[in-house]
């Protein structure tokens, strides 16, 4: 066994022993505190080991008392996020994250416009495209990587999470999301529900690339 591997294992064992001491002494720190003490590559294994002891501790302490109102709110979040369409549950997630950050749609549009230098008529096209995205009218396959990265930065969320949400298309979602009360209709797999006018200038073309150009757009 290589020396580095032995030393990493010893590190994990030492942290595990430290955690068990803390748990026994009734002063456990939180799991991420312990995870931070070992190399990133070992965290999954340590988390698995620690969770056994944390779980036992939690079971011994009995169920935590939580205000029922909190469960109601959590169910509300889950319900809103269960709305899927041609862009998976990304539209619902964007609306939810925007609400929790107290941002208006216009704030998001402004931030995207600044980031990509979109001005003039492009700005109106951007406003309309973002509206279409948040209301489930665009296809997740049309969204560019650049747009998801920008949304991730604006809403403080991992762009990979947004990308995965956009690709979770509902089984029956060749039509638009149910929450928006629209009739069934064919959705272009990349361009979305509506046919749009061709871009009139560079700024409008940038918007189309972002929202309808596909991952590399």
């Amino acid at each position: 066994m290589a020396t580095a591997e032995v030393s990493t294992m010893a590190e994990v064992e030492a942290v595990l022993a430290e955690a068990l001491e803390d748990i026994k002494a009734g002063r456990p720190r939180t799991m991420p505190d312990y995870l931070g003490l070992v190399p990133r590559s070992e965290r999954a294994e340590l988390a698995e080991l620690l969770s056994i002891f944390f779980m036992r501790d939690a079971v011994a302490a009995g169920p935590e008392r939580v205000d029922p109102e909190r469960y109601e709110r959590a169910l509300g979040v889950l319900d809103r996020l269960s709305t899927t369409g041609p862009a998976g549950n990304l539209p619902a997630a964007l609306a939810e994250l925007r609400r929790t950050r107290r941002l208006r749609r216009e704030d998001i549009v402004g931030a995207i416009a600044d980031r990509f230098g979109i001005t003039g008529t492009g700005r109106e096209r951007l406003r309309r495209s973002y509206h279409e995205l948040e209301t489930g009218q665009l296809s997740g396959r049309g969204l560019s990587r650049r747009l998801l990265d920008a949304l991730g930065q604006i809403l403080h969320v991992d762009p990979e999470d947004l990308s995965a949400a956009a690709s979770r298309v509902a089984r029956a979602a060749t039509g638009p999301a149910r929450a928006f009360g629209r009739g069934a209709g064919e959705v272009d797999p990349v361009r979305g529900m509506h046919s749009i006018q061709p871009p009139r200038d560079e700024s409008e073309r940038v918007v189309d690339d972002l929202f309808r150009g596909g991952a590399d757009g």
């Binding site: 799991m31 698995e48 979040v77 997630a93 929790t100 969320v157 991992d158 999470d161 995965a164």
Partner: protein, 148 residues
């Protein structure tokens, strides 16, 4: 995911956390979307106490009001749903919930609730006119005495 209640919800609600984690791992490996959706819901509901406690622990010292904390909790739950939806290996739902809730509560970019837009109104006070006082007396008012 459009069914508000999935047929497996009741079944999963009765299971303990290690069993749910095992089922989640299997459903993830097999890319079984039908099972993943109710599993994600169950796991998120199990994480609610962790999210609530963590947001309070890290939100209160940052002067987040109760309504701010409620929004942070909703944000953490949303991010938890998104992360679980990626189907990555998950050693512990509690550890992940803690990590996400802490990040959300400590985010320096979070704006506190705007102060209410109420302008203080300066009261306009006048000295009572002495002629008004004497007029009141002539009308039979005697400063608190009753005629009986």
């Amino acid at each position: 995911m459009n069914d508000p209640l999935h047929k497996l919800d009741a079944q999963y609600a009765a299971l303990d956390e290690p069993t749910l984690m095992m089922l989640f791992e299997t459903a993830t490996r097999e890319n079984d979307a039908d099972a993943l959706e109710p599993l994600v819901r169950q796991l998120v509901l199990r994480a609610v106490p962790v999210v609530e406690r963590t947001v309070r622990e890290f939100g209160e010292p940052r002067d987040l009001s109760p309504s701010d904390q409620a929004l942070v909790e909703d944000e953490a739950l949303t991010k938890l749903v998104l992360r679980l939806g990626r189907g990555l290996p998950l050693p512990s739902i509690r550890a992940l919930a803690y990590e996400i809730a802490r990040e959300c509560a400590e985010d320096p970019a979070r704006q506190p609730a705007p102060a209410p837009k109420v302008r203080p109104v300066r009261p306009t006070l006048r000295v009572v006119d002495s002629s008004l006082h004497s007029r009141a007396r002539s009308n039979g008012h005697r400063g608190g005495q009753h005629d009986g």
